[in-house]
Amino acid sequence: MYFDNVAGVQSEAQPGRGVICRLLDPAFGFFVWAGHFLLVYITEAVACQLGLAFRGERVHSGLLTMLAIVTVLAAAVVLAHGFRRWKQRGQAGDRGFLIRLTVGDDALAALAILWQFLPLFMVPVCR
C-alpha cells in the first residue's frame, strides 16, 4: 500500500478491519459489567412487578440463584478474557500497552461484577 514505507511509523495490522473491535478490546470487561448490571437490575425490577419474589420460597430462592449464577458467569467471562490477554503480555510498544490496559480493566470489571454479590446475599428482594 502507498503508506507502507513510512519510516519510523508502526504499520497498523489489518488496516480497516476490526479497528473498532481492537480499540474497544480494553473495555471488554466493562461491556460485560454493563450488560450484567442492567440484567440483574431489570430482572429484579420485572420479577418484583410480576410478584415472583412472593410466590413461595422456592421461586424466591430460584430467582436469587439465577442472579448469582449470572454474576459468576459474567465474572468468569471477564476473567477468562483478561487471562487470555495476560498470556500475550511481554509485547513491546502499542500492543503491550493495550494488553496491560485490557488486563487491568478486566480485573477491575470482574471486581465490580463480583461486588454485586453483596446485595444478592445481604438484601431482601422486592422490599
Binding site: Y2, F3, N5, V6, A7, G8, V9, Q10, S11, E12, P15, G16, V19, I20, R22, L23, P26, A27, F30, W33, A34, F37, V40, Y41, I42, E44, A45, V46, C48, Q49, L50, G93, D94, G96, F97, L98, R100, L101, G104, D105, L108, A109, L111, A112, W115, Q116, L118, P119, L120, M122, V123, P124, V125, C126, R127
Partner: protein, 832 residues
C-alpha cells in the same frame, strides 16, 4: 497571542484553536455571572429570616446558579480547553470538523446568553437545576420558566455533542504521524473517555427533555401520576446523564492535573497505563451510579444496593489516579509555581469531596443528609475542588502558550490563597449545618435552628473566595499588557503543544512522534515542526489541510482538506437559537422567519460540500504521497457517523427505558381500560411492509455499487411507497385501538417509542439510502433538505466536505450526502 482573525473573523473563523479560545472566554463569563448569583444567595442566607431576596427570586437564582455552573461552565470549559489544546497537543494542524465546532460554539454562546438574560425578565427557570416534575410540569409551572431551561439545555446538548464528535474522531484520526495510543498525551486520553461518555449519556437527558416538553406542550402524561405517569421517570433519565456528567466534568480536569504535574514535578507521570485504565474504568462505572441520587425515592432495597455497590466500586479507579498523582509528586522534585499550587489545592479539596462521596454512597447515611446542606458541601467540594481549581491551574499554566506572557506569580499566589481559604471557610461549615438539619434550596431559615453563626461565617468566606476569583481576573487583564514576555516553553514542559506557541492553529509541519514526552526525549522534534522537516511542509492543495492517520498506530493515510472561514456556522447557529427561542416565547413571526433563514444557510452549507477532488496522490512531505480522498472506514466521515449511530441508539434505548419503567411502575393499570391489544393481522402487515422496504433498500445499495441507476430508482421508489404505507397504517393503528397519548401514560409511551425509533432508523438507513440513491440516479440535491433539521445531518454532511460523503459509509449502511456527478469520480478514485 497570534494576530487572530480580522475584524469579522471573530464570527467567521473556523479552526478549533481559535474557537476554543472563544469557548474559554465565554465559559469564564458564565462562571462569573453564576458566581455573582451565589454571592447574592449567600447574602440572603447570612442571617435567619432575611429579606434581601424574595422567595421567588431566590428560587430563580439557585436554579440559574446550578444550571449555568453545570451546563454553561463546568461541561463546556473542559471542552473549551481541549478544543484549544488538542490540535497542538496531538501534533496536528486541526481536528476534522472545525465548522461543526464553530456551529456548536455559537449555539452555546447565543443560547447561553438568551437563557441567562431570562433573569432580567423574571422568566428564569425556578425548579432547581435538575428540574424535577411535577414541580416543573404544566400544573405547577404554567409559565415559560421551565421551557427556558429546556431551551438552554437544548443548545448545550447541540454544542456538547458537536464537541464530542470532534474529539472522538479527531483524537482517533488526526493525531501526529507515529503517535500511537500508548504515546498519546494523557489529557487526550481523558478527553477521549469524556467524549465517549457524552456520546452515550447525553441522549438520556435529550429524551427526558423531549418527554417533558411533550407533557408541557401537548399534555402527554409521562410524569403525571394521575394519568399513569411517574415523576421518577424524569429522575431516572436525568441522572442517567446527570451522574456521568459529574465525571464528564471531572475527567478533563484530571487530565489537566496529569499534564501539569509532570512539568512541575520535573518527572514522568508515574503509572501512565494505570491512569489510563482508571480513566476508562471511571468512564464506564459512572453509568452505574445514577440511582445514588435517588436513594430516598422508595426504590426496592436491592436495586439501591446494586447502585450503592457500584458507587463504592468506582472509588478504586479514582483512588488509582489519586495515588498515581501522589507518586509523581514523590518521584520528582516539585516546583511550587502558581499552577502547581492550584493542583495541590485540587488534590486536598477533591479528596475530601471524594470521602464525603463515599459517605453518601451509603444508603442509610444518605437518607439522613439527603437534600440538606451536607450535600451542598459535598458537591461543591467535588466540583470546585475537582474542576474549578484544576481549571484555574490550566489558566495559569497554558496562558503563556497563547499570549506569550506570564501571569503574575505574586498575584497568582494571592489568588490561590484567597480561593483556598475562602472555599474551605465557606463550605466546610455546611457539612455541620446540613447535619443539623438545614435544608438546601430554601430561601431562609429560623434562628432556632442553631446555625446562625455558621451561616454568617460561610457568607463572609464566600466574599473571600470571590475576591480570589477577582484577583485572577485582574491579573489576566493586567498581564495582557504588562506581563513579562516569555519564550516558547517557559515551564520546560514535555508535551507537544508548547512547540506551537503563538500560532493560531496547531502545527505548520507535522512532526513524527515516537515518545510520550517529545520535548524531553525527541531532540529533533523542534526542527521538524518549525523548519518544515515533518509531514505536510506545504499545502499541496493550497487549502487548509491536515493529515489523517490510523487510530491505533498513527500511520498516515490521507491528506485531509479542511474548510476555511465562513459565515455559515455562525448564522446557522444564531438563527437556530432565535428560532427555538421564538418557539419557547411563542413569537411565531420571529420564529418562522429565523427558522427559514437557518434552513437556507444550512442548505447552503450542504450545497457547497460536494466539490470535485483532484485525482492521484499529493505530496505529504518526507517522500510520502497520500490521497486527498478516502471513502471507506478510514475516512473521518465514517467515524463521525459511527459516533452518531451510537448516540442515536442511546436515544432510542432511553425511550425504550421510559416505556419499560412506566410499565414496571404501574403494572396494574398497564394498559389502561379501553385500550385494546393488537390483533394478529396488523402486526404482520406492518412487519411485511417494513421487511419489504428494507429488502428494497438493500437492493438499491447493491445496484448503486454497480452503477445501475434505473434499478436504483425503482428500488428506492418501491421503498418509499412501502415505507409510506407502513407509516400511514402505523400512525392510524394506535388510534383505532383506543390508545390515546393524552389520556394515559401508556398511550403516550406507545405513541412516542416507535416515533423516536423511526427517527433513529431514518437517520441510520432511510435517509442515507434514499439520498445516496437519488444522488446516483439524478442530481437530486433537494432531497437532502430533509436532513437539515438535525445535528446528525450537519455532521454527516460536514464530513462529506472532507471526502467522506456520498460513498463513505458502505459497511454501516448510512450516509447522508448529496449528490453530484463528482461523486462517481471520487468513488472510482478513492477505490483505486
Amino acid at each position: 497571542m497570534g494576530d487572530g482573525p480580522p475584524r469579522w473573523g471573530w464570527f467567521t473563523e473556523a479552526n478549533n484553536t481559535w474557537i476554543g479560545r472563544l469557548y474559554i472566554a465565554t465559559g469564564f463569563a458564565f462562571f462569573l455571572g453564576a458566581g455573582l448569583l451565589a454571592v447574592l444567595m449567600r447574602i440572603q442566607l447570612a442571617r435567619p429570616n432575611n429579606t434581601f431576596l424574595a422567595e421567588a427570586t431566590y428560587n430563580q437564582f439557585f436554579t440559574m446558579h446550578g444550571t449555568v455552573m453545570m451546563f454553561l461552565f463546568a461541561v463546556p470549559i473542559g471542552e473549551a480547553f481541549a478544543m484549544t489544546l488538542l490540535p497542538s497537543m496531538t501534533g496536528t494542524r486541526d481536528m476534522p470538523f472545525p465548522w461543526l465546532s464553530s456551529f456548536g460554539f455559537w449555539c452555546y454562546a447565543i443560547g447561553g446568553v438568551l437563557v441567562f438574560s431570562s433573569l432580567s425578565f423574571g422568566i428564569a427557570p425556578d425548579g432547581g437545576w435538575f428540574m424535577y416534575p411535577p414541580l416543573t410540569g404544566p400544573t405547577y409551572s404554567p409559565g415559560v420558566n421551565t421551557d427556558v431551561w429546556v431551551l438552554g439545555l437544548g443548545f448545550v446538548e447541540i454544542a456538547t455533542l458537536a464537541a464530542a464528535i470532534e474529539f472522538i474522531v479527531g483524537l482517533l484520526k488526526t493525531r501526529a504521524p507515529g503517535m500511537t495510543l500508548a504515546n498519546m498525551p494523557i489529557f487526550a486520553w481523558y478527553m477521549l473517555v469524556t467524549a465517549g461518555m457524552i456520546m452515550i449519556g447525553m441522549p438520556a437527558v435529550i429524551a427526558a427533555d423531549l418527554l417533558l416538553e411533550l407533557e408541557r406542550a401537548f399534555g402527554w402524561p409521562f410524569f403525571d401520576a394521575t394519568r399513569g405517569g411517574d415523576p421518577l421517570l424524569w429522575q431516572h433519565l436525568f441522572w442517567i446523564f446527570g451522574h456521568p456528567e459529574v465525571y464528564i466534568i471531572f475527567l478533563p480536569a484530571a487530565g489537566i492535573v496529569s499534564m501539569a504535574l509532570p512539568t512541575f514535578a520535573c518527572t514522568r507521570l508515574v503509572g501512565y497505563s494505570w491512569v489510563v485504565m482508571g480513566a476508562v474504568s471511571v468512564g464506564f462505572l459512572s453509568f452505574g451510579l445514577w440511582v445514588h441520587h435517588m436513594f430516598t425515592t422508595g426504590l426496592p432495597l436491592m436495586s439501591l444496593s446494586f447502585f450503592s455497590a457500584a458507587s463504592i466500586a468506582i472509588s478504586i479507579p479514582m483512588g488509582v489516579q489519586v495515588f498515581a498523582w501522589l507518586a509523581t509528586l514523590w518521584d520528582g522534585k516539585p516546583v511550587l509555581r502558581t499552577p502547581m499550587l492550584f493542583v495541590l489545592g485540587f488534590l486536598s479539596i477533591f479528596t475530601i469531596g471524594g470521602l464525603t462521596g463515599v459517605m453518601v454512597a451509603s444508603v442509610p447515611f444518605d437518607w439522613q443528609v439527603h437534600d440538606s446542606h451536607f450535600v451542598v458541601a459535598h458537591l461543591h467540594y467535588v466540583l470546585i475542588g475537582g474542576m474549578v481549581f484544576p481549571i484555574f491551574a490550566a489558566l495559569y499554566y497554558w496562558t503563556p502558550m497563547v499570549t506569550k506572557r506570564l501571569m503574575s506569580e505574586r498575584l497568582g499566589r494571592w489568588a490561590f490563597g484567597l480561593m483556598f481559604i475562602g472555599f474551605n471557610g465557606a463550605f466546610l461549615p455546611m457539612h455541620v449545618t446540613g447535619l443539623l438539619g438545614m435544608p438546601r434550596r430554601v430561601y431562609t431559615y429560623d434562628a432556632s435552628l442553631g446555625v446562625n453563626g455558621l451561616n454568617m461565617s460561610s457568607t463572609i468566606f464566600t466574599f473571600i473566595l470571590g475576591a480570589g476569583v477577582l484577583v485572577v481576573l485582574v491579573d489576566f487583564i493586567r498581564h495582557l499588557r504588562s506581563g513579562p514576555r516569555v519564550g516558547d516553553n517557559p515551564w520546560n514542559a514535555p508535551s507537544l503543544e508548547w512547540l506551537s506557541a503563538d500560532a493560531d492553529y496547531g502545527f505548520r509541519s507535522l512532526p513524527l512522534i515516537t515518545s510520550r514526552y517529545p520535548l524531553w526525549e525527541q531532540p529533533n522534534v523542534l526542527q521538524e515542526a518549525r523548519e518544515g522537516g515533518g509531514y505536510l511542509p506545504d499545502a499541496p492543495t493550497l487549502e487548509r489541510e491536515s493529515l489523517l492517520t490510523s487510530p491505533i498506530t498513527g500511520q498516515p493515510e490521507q491528506i485531509l482538506r479542511l474548510p476555511g472561514p465562513g459565515w455559515t456556522p455562525f448564522v446557522s447557529a444564531a438563527m437556530t437559537a432565535i428560532f427555538f427561542t421564538g418557539l419557547t416565547l411563542r413569537l411565531a413571526v420571529i420564529s418562522v422567519t429565523s427558522g427559514a433563514v437557518a434552513l437556507m444557510f444550512l442548505m447552503s452549507w450542504m450545497w457547497r460540500l460536494d466539490r470535485a477532488y483532484p485525482k492521484g496522490l499529493a505530496d505529504a512531505g518526507r517522500g510520502l504521497g497520500l490521497p486527498l480522498y478516502l471513502n471507506d472506514n478510514r475516512s473521518v466521515g465514517w467515524w463521525a457517523m459511527v459516533v452518531l449511530i451510537i448516540t442515536d441508539a442511546s436515544l432510542t434505548l432511553s425511550i425504550a427505558f421510559a416505556y419499560l419503567f412506566l410499565w414496571t411502575a404501574k403494572p396494574a393499570i398497564w394498559p389502561p381500560d379501553g385500550s385494546q391489544m393488537p390483533g394478529i393481522i396488523e402486526p404482520f402487515v406492518l412487519l411485511g411492509l417494513t421487511a419489504g422496504a428494507y429488502l428494497l433498500f438493500e437492493g438499491a445499495e447493491r445496484f448503486n455499487r454497480r452503477d445501475r441507476r434505473f434499478s436504483v430508482g425503482i428500488c428506492l421508489a418501491g421503498t418509499a411507497i412501502l415505507a409510506s404505507v407502513a407509516i400511514a397504517i402505523g400512525s392510524a393503528w394506535p388510534g383505532s385501538l383506543g390508545i390515546n397519548p393524552t389520556r394515559h401514560s401508556y398511550g403516550a409511551a406507545v405513541w412516542t417509542t416507535p416515533r423516536v425509533d423511526c427517527r433513529s432508523r431514518c437517520n441510520w438507513r432511510s435517509d442515507g439510502y434514499l439520498v445516496r440513491g437519488a444522488a446516483r440516479s439524478a442530481d437530486a440535491r433537494l432531497v437532502a433538505m430533509r436532513n437539515v433539521a438535525g445535528l446528525s445531518a450537519l455532521v454527516a454532511l460536514h464530513s462529506g466536505r472532507h471526502g467522506a460523503g456520498a460513498c463513505a459509509c458502505r459497511r454501516v449502511s448510512i450516509c447522508i450526502s448529496i449528490t453530484s456527478p463528482a461523486c462517481k469520480a471520487r468513488r472510482s478514485q478513492g477505490e483505486a
